[in-house]
């Protein structure tokens, strides 16, 4: 059975559970009210973005080390899905910020670094899309995929070191706990698991497309050979 056929229903059930918990189990935050529930998709999308970009970096290392085409496909697919979730983070964040901060966007260190991270991986995808099929392009992209992930620890640290407006989710600036209600924390992790499963399903679907493209390219070469005009 294909991975995407298993992951699809599992992710759908997990998302339904996460939505139920975000709207019916998690308590309403006292000062922000209902709009604070954006937290559950915003933060889970941010964590999922990190998982995807770490997967891109890990698969890129495997590609550079072993030359595995499967690793290259995984790197490309997770970068694409990572960019999707990073975009969703940058859509849901400003929508939440508007009623709370009074502005959709500020040049806060975390927001700025997230925008830079998004830009790095959009660059990665553009290199893959327009660089051609050359193996050198795949290697350059792998290096970019590894280097880009270094922005993630910078984002984590920037919240604690620089005085930005963006709150820290897991730790306060002084290193103490998050201060989040335990039920909210539990719902946040359930939502993160659900969104991560959703991302894993999307990565599996994207990799299936890439496998079919490779299969078509091999058939095209076979056809060229059969017709006596090698590519």
């Amino acid at each position: 059975m294909r991975a995407d056929a298993i992951l699809g229903p599992v992710a759908a059930v997990a998302m339904l559970v996460a939505l139920y918990m975000a709207f019916l189990v998690a308590p309403t935050e006292a000062s922000m009210g209902l709009v604070q529930r954006i937290f559950y998709i915003h933060v889970s999308s941010a964590f999922t973005t990190y998982f995807c970009f770490f997967a891109t970096a890990g698969a890129s290392i495997a590609y550079l080390w072993k030359g595995s085409e499967g690793a290259d496909r995984l790197a490309n697919a997770s970068a694409e899905v990572g960019v999707l979730f990073c975009t969703l983070v940058m859509i849901t964040g400003p929508i939440w910020a508007r009623p709370i901060w009074g502005a959709y966007w500020t040049w806060d260190p975390r927001l700025t670094m997230t925008l830079i991270l998004w830009g790095i991986y959009v660059g990665y995808l553009m290199l893959r899309a327009f660089g051609g099929e050359d193996e050198a392009v795949a290697r350059y992209a792998a290096v970019l995929g590894i280097a880009g992930v270094l922005a993630i620890p910078v984002i984590r640290v920037s919240v604690r070191l620089l005085q930005g407006m963006h709150p820290s989710v897991l730790q306060q600036r002084d290193g103490s706990g998050s201060g989040l209600d335990p039920t909210m924390t539990m719902v946040m992790w359930v939502a993160t698991l659900a969104v991560a499963l959703l991302a894993a399903w999307l990565v599996a679907l994207r990799m299936r497309v890439e496998r079919t493209v490779t299969e078509a390219a091999a058939l095209r070469r076979a056809l060229d050979l059969q017709q006596g005009s090698p590519a």
């Binding site: 929508i95 999307l202 493209v213 078509a216 058939l219």
Partner: protein, 47 residues
């Protein structure tokens, strides 16, 4: 907290799922196009 902020909540969740749905549609179209090409290539190889 005014009820006006409910619109932001609805907008955020709606845009999240619209984004996912658009991406799934894009992948499904890509997969369909490549499978169609694969079918044509297999038929040409058989001839």
């Amino acid at each position: 907290m005014s009820d006006n902020n409910l619109g932001y909540l609805v907008a955020a969740y709606s845009l999240f799922f619209i984004g996912i749905a658009l991406y799934v549609r894009r992948i499904a179209r890509l997969q369909g196009a490549v499978e169609e090409e694969l079918r044509e290539l297999r038929e040409r190889l058989k001839r």
